[in-house]
């Protein structure tokens, strides 16, 4: 089963066509043979079907999406005949992981293949070691950076011992050092295992040197050129440049290149003149929120700003900085250095980080922050990295004007100016034909351009851009740069967090932060897959989750025997006395927080007993019953609420699949989803932040708030549905599709302590029963 005939597996794509439903023409028409061990680079303009080709090669195209003809075979059989022979790495590694810990994630493929648990663990360990993974197998998947997650994805593919590795822009989202590490790991694995590589990329420099063969697709998904890389690049250079591909040795399109064909005359106001004349802007009359130039502080001023990482690490202290209007400043530094955090601080998302004075704001952003969403929007704009969280309207033009329509509702002159500016931006960013399109229907590059337009149309004085060019083709890059240059000419403060060398070269100032990273532990990481218990976890954390659920159930059953308030109080006392078994020092505060709504619920039930029971409302009998009900609800709910803190989704999934024998696939999928809870909470917060800074946060009215939350829910759902589709693809690439029964790397043991838990459950039933008999 694990033996492979690597040297004989030829990948043959024969007369393959793919027509998605709703299209009259196929988007892909390809015949291609890839010999064993060959390394092929696939290039083409966006929409040329490159990603579709990779999915077809992996045998993962879904009949529900379109019609396919022709065939794909690997060594004569269908690619998914034996899942895992073809590994797939996707652009965004955050959608690829499925397990809580690194080791279990690498074990996912072997588990699907039903290897023995021992074999699964060995294979996963070897795969982690093969990619030289820097952390232990017990490291949390969510604590990894993008580059490390991508390396983990590589380990996950290698654990299935593939013949072919398909790479769909695997380094597009990474900073250059991380990209280089991932590339090196892929190449080493390819060398050691004689892997066939098929790489889709639009930054040629990264892979052209290692792929001896290049295939270029045209925009109809047909092969335009196929041959030795050097020759193809020489022959097709102009087509590649037209397609927006970054060709080594060719500089990015410069702003002056673009301006040569630009009909609008450049503003007379010099970019770095320091005069605060904003009225001569390219986009017509000034439409900014600037109200007061009197104090001469049109600059962005930061003083005493401290940056703290999400995990509490201090990144920078006492940052003091003045950025003059009409300048473009880049913030650089390694991943995790605090670049995004700095932007968030300027945007006022992190109150108390220090003093930030935004030009035109009525007061500094300090511990109390700027209160009103519209006030914030009028002075500062923010382009987040994930732009699909931005959309609030149904058409491109409405999206662009959303903020302006709120800010300038009572100012027709400014609104007209914003309208004119939007029209100019539509044309300049090549979006004019999409004016009435749904923002969600745009391609990735188009969405990024629209996002940029949407956050700047109302012309705020400060514009914050988070990695505005990451993963962009040459054309979009040039469009972004052009807009930045215009903003600069208008006297705007532009601050961008970036790794992009070309963008850095175009900046007026560079702010490098956080050069020092904590050194990685010198001792080699332990890649052995074993049960993970966090240090300092309370005893119950080692219990089988089913035993914990039985304890909670005991509380529920026991609550039915609570006949008066005294019995209730005494039974509750049992739960409280046993609570230290399940609540550690670190989980005490969250547990208490979870108990607050329970108390409110108990009081509501008490109140409704007082008024709505069979007894006369507010009679003394009703009061007695209400007191009983309050304690009964506490007995019912409290044990479960305490235990939730130690219920771990991964172990629960293992228990439900192995002990309860529930169907494996839904359990595993459910676990992978629940593990993303914290990330989705972060997304929800980001959606709220985006709306706040765009001036779209609701007022106090109830209908306004309902509309706001409804719209946020919609945005989250679209985001999550897209994410689910990528997750499913990457799970199927590791053989999940046919894994109706799987094996599990770790057992779900039932130990002595679990019998103790059952005894506690019985106690929770017996205590009220016996007390009520007294």
């Amino acid at each position: 089963m694990t033996a492979t005939a690597t040297a004989t597996a030829t990948l043959v794509v024969e007369d393959f066509t793919w027509r998605p439903y709703g299209r009259s023409e196929p988007v892909l028409e390809v015949s291609l043979t890839v010999r064993p061990g060959e390394r092929v680079l696939v290039l083409g303009p966006s929409g040329s079907g490159k990603s579709t080709l990779l999915r077809a090669m992996a045998g993962l195209l879904d009949d529900s999406l379109g019609e396919q003809q022709g065939s794909v075979t690997l060594g004569g059989t269908a690619p998914q005949a034996e899942p895992g022979r073809i590994g797939l790495m996707l652009q965004d590694p955050s959608h690829a992981w499925v397990a809580e810990h690194v080791g279990r994630d690498a074990a996912f493929g072997p588990e699907n293949r039903r290897s023995s648990p021992h074999q699964v663990r060995t294979t996963a360990e070897q795969a982690l070691t093969a990619v030289d993974f820097p952390y232990d197998a017990g490291h949390r998947t969510t604590a990894l950076s993008g580059g490390q997650q991508q390396r983990l994805a590589l380990a996950g593919a290698l654990a299935l011992n593939p013949d072919v590795l398909l790479l769909d822009e695997p380094t597009a989202m990474l900073d250059p050092p991380a990209a280089a590490t991932v590339r090196a790991a892929v190449l080493r694995a390819a060398d050691e295992r004689t892997l066939t590589l098929v790489v889709v990329e639009h930054r040629l420099a990264d892979w052209a040197g290692v792929c001896e063969r290049t295939v270029v697709l045209d925009r109809h998904g047909r092969v335009l050129a196929d041959g030795p890389t050097i020759q193809v690049l020489a022959d097709q250079e102009s087509q590649l440049l037209d397609a927006g591909i970054w060709v080594p040795g060719i500089e990015p399109l410069t702003v002056s290149d673009l301006r040569a064909s630009d009909p609008v005359e450049r503003s007379g106001a010099g970019p770095k003149s320091g005069t605060h004349s904003r009225s001569g802007g390219i986009y017509g009359s000034s439409a900014t929120g600037l109200t007061d130039f009197g104090d001469g502080s049109a600059a962005l001023e930061l003083s005493g700003v401290g940056l703290t990482a999400p995990d509490g690490r201090e990144l920078a202290a006492d940052l003091t900085l003045t950025i003059e209007p009409g300048t473009f400043t880049v913030v650089t530094g390694p991943s995790g250095a605090g670049k995004s955090t700095l932007l968030h601080t300027v945007a006022g998302f992190i109150p108390g980080a220090g003093q930030v004075r935004l030009p035109g704001a009525t007061g500094p952003i300090d511990a109390r922050g700027l209160r009103r969403s519209t006030e914030l929007a009028s002075v500062v704009a923010w382009l987040p990295q994930h732009v699909d969280l931005l959309w609030t309207r149904r058409t491109v033009i409405d999206e662009m004007l959303a903020t302006s329509r709120v800010l300038f509702a009572g100012d027709p002159v400014r609104l007209a100016a914003a309208n004119a500016r939007a029209e100019t931006l539509l044309t300049e960013l090549g979006l004019d034909h999409l004016r009435e399109a749904d923002p969600y229907q745009l391609s990735g590059g188009e969405q990024r351009r629209l996002a940029l337009a949407a956050v700047i149309v109302h012309a705020p004085a400060v514009i914050l851009l988070d990695e505005p060019t990451v993963g962009q083709d040459r054309h979009t890059w040039a469009a972004v740069m052009q807009v930045i240059d215009r903003l600069r000419a208008e006297g705007t403060v532009v601050l961008a967090a970036t790794h992009d060398e070309s963008l850095i070269a175009a900046a007026d100032h560079r702010l490098a932060i956080g050069a020092d990273r904590p050194p990685v532990a010198a001792e080699p990481a332990d890649h052995a897959v074993r049960e993970v218990v966090e240090p300092g976890a309370p005893p119950a954390a080692r219990n089988n989750p089913l035993a914990l659920l039985i304890v909670a159930l005991g509380g529920v059953i026991g609550s039915f025997f609570v006949t008066d308030w005294l019995v209730g109080v005494l039974t509750l006392l049992v739960s409280v006395l046993l609570a230290p078994l399940a609540v550690g020092r670190r989980t005490l505060v969250p547990t208490l927080a979870r108990l607050v709504p329970v108390a409110l619920a108990a009081l509501t039930v008490g109140w409704s007993t007082l008024v709505f029971s069979d007894r006369a409302a507010f009679s003394s009998a009703a009061f007695v019953a209400a007191a009983k009900e309050i304690t009964r609800i506490a007995c019912l709910v409290v044990p479960g609420v305490i235990l939730v803190g130690v219920l771990d989704p991964s172990r629960l999934g293992d228990a439900l699949a192995q002990r309860c024998r529930l169907p494996h696939r839904p359990v595993v999928a459910g676990t992978a989803a629940l593990l993303r809870l914290q990330l989705l909470l972060d997304d929800w917060r980001r959606i709220a932040q985006v709306r706040r800074i765009r001036g779209l946060a609701p007022g106090r009215s109830l209908p306004g708030r309902i509309r706001h939350v409804a719209s946020m829910t919609f945005t989250l759902l679209v985001h999550v549905l897209r994410q689910a589709q990528v997750m499913a693809t990457s799970m199927d690439a590791r053989g999940f599709a046919e894994a109706r029964r799987r094996t599990f790397a770790l057992p779900s043991p039932w130990r002595g302590r679990d019998w103790v838990a059952v005894a506690i459950a019985l106690l929770l039933v017996a205590a009220p029963l016996l007390l009520s008999l007294r």
């Binding site: 979870r594 019953a625 929800w684 829910t713």
Partner: protein, 213 residues
């Protein structure tokens, strides 16, 4: 006029899930569970709105059923998107397990509600033999979820309510289930289809075909 005709034609020919009904694709599974988690997160946001109505419902708890249908939106949405038996149940169980993790008022007892509400919505689609995925099964399923959820809550939470108040609660839950769960859920799925994000699912196919391909 053409849009109306197409819409009617679309309703007459409900697109079914691809392959055998019980043969879930991975994307079906992952979508169902992620819908569950997403709603679990969104419910926290809705909590802020819900709190504004808090005093009213605290004063008159049997009326709080008016918003009950909200809680089984994930079930309705998952059923309408995935169109396989069990989709509603799976999404609702996941949504119900997110709630206690984030601090829901009823703790793990919410899991029981999740099962009951999910089954209620499933029943609505079962009546039509999982062959029709339109407003009617969605509203019937929503109403059934409300009908089934009421005795669970009466038994577990509001035991002392007089039967008349429990009746009021049942009626508000049923109406809410049909309107907030069924009607709103159907509208939400239509809006999602319009973004193109449901392309791998029957509603996405219906949308693409309705646009005239």
């Amino acid at each position: 006029m053409t849009t109306a005709t197409q819409a009617r034609a679309g309703r007459a020919h409900t697109v079914r899930a691809i392959g055998p009904l019980f043969r879930w694709r991975t994307v079906d599974l992952v979508t169902a569970v992620m819908i569950g988690v997403a709603f679990g997160v969104a419910f926290i946001g809705w909590g802020q709105v819900y709190n504004l109505t808090g005093p009213l419902f605290a004063a008159l708890p049997p009326l709080s059923g008016i918003l009950g249908g909200f809680w089984w939106l994930p079930a309705v949405v998952a059923a309408l998107i995935i169109r396989r038996p069990g989709a509603a149940l799976l999404a609702e169980i996941i949504a119900a397990s997110v709630e206690p993790l984030l601090g829901g008022q009823w703790g793990l007892a919410t899991l029981g509600s999740g099962v009951i509400q999910g089954l209620g919505v499933e029943l609505g689609f079962l009546i039509f033999a999982y062959g029709l995925f339109s407003l009617a099964p969605a509203m019937i399923g929503g109403a059934l979820a409300g009908l089934l959820e009421t005795p669970y809550e009466w038994l577990l939470y509001y035991r002392e309510w007089a039967i008349g108040y429990a009746g009021v609660y049942a009626v508000t839950m049923i109406i809410s289930g049909a309107l907030v769960g069924g009607l709103l859920g159907t509208g939400l799925v239509r809006a999602l289809a319009a973004t193109g994000v449901l392309a791998p699912f029957p509603p996405g196919r219906e949308h693409a075909e309705a646009r005239g391909a």
